[in-house]
Symmetry: C2
Subunit: 162 residues, 2 copies
Amino acid sequence: MVDTTGFRNAMALLGGAVSVITTDGAAGRFGFTASAVCSVTDQPPTLLVCMNRSSYSNVHFKSNGVLCVNVLSADHQGTSGVFANRELTMEQRFGTARWQVLESGAPVLDEALVSFDCRIAQAHEVGSHTIFYCEILDLKMGASQEGLVYFNRAYHRLSSNA
Amino acid sequence: MVDTTGFRNAMALLGGAVSVITTDGAAGRFGFTASAVCSVTDQPPTLLVCMNRSSYSNVHFKSNGVLCVNVLSADHQGTSGVFANRELTMEQRFGTARWQVLESGAPVLDEALVSFDCRIAQAHEVGSHTIFYCEILDLKMGASQEGLVYFNRAYHRLSSNA
């Protein structure tokens, strides 16, 4: 079996987009930075999000039953840091950017590369994490075409040209 | 509800690492190119892979019960194309590169950025796709530190420096 440090060092080489995952509803407004987001199927349009179960907002995402995946653009490094900072309250985090809502009511980040507004169709517990299977109710494409990727423990800017 | 074309155009903006997923065993040797791979948890070290159920090799991955996620380096664009090409036989695909094995027996690509040698712990069907939850038995880091990312329908090279 692979040890935790070896696993984390190896996983750092699996580059991925950076997103801020948000929710709002009766349980309140929450958001966190994630890189474990995947497309699943287009029948119906579905993605998945992995979230640590030890996060205090995990239960509130489940309770609200909705979330928005805001895929960050290259200019959103600061927003990524804010939503990964456990010392900031949710009010402080959301105060650093502008938000809209679509169908689900979850906060949609202004100028995200793309936002996927979702209903949580299923929550699957695997070890320390919850995998949320999310049906996409609506989406919003931003104006930017420059993506943000986290790879080898650093941010990288992706232009729309290769 | 979001239409299929809109979903695919939006998902093209979710950048991701490119991997070749392989298996070998009693059901035979198979491999395909994938970008839907996520880290799940380090207790025990687990990742997930999304695979189309309509792929003829889907049932053989399940039957072998093992797979290897070979995360491609920046120099592996050709290998990505080969394992995404439905007109090539498995023999032709595997003939274009060199392979080793670790614990599971699934093919490990020489000079991959990193390879995760896995046991399929669980297969979860969601719409048109299977999500394989895979426990990592062993891993192998390559010498390259340059990653390959697919974003906005093009390949991008990531250096180890931001």
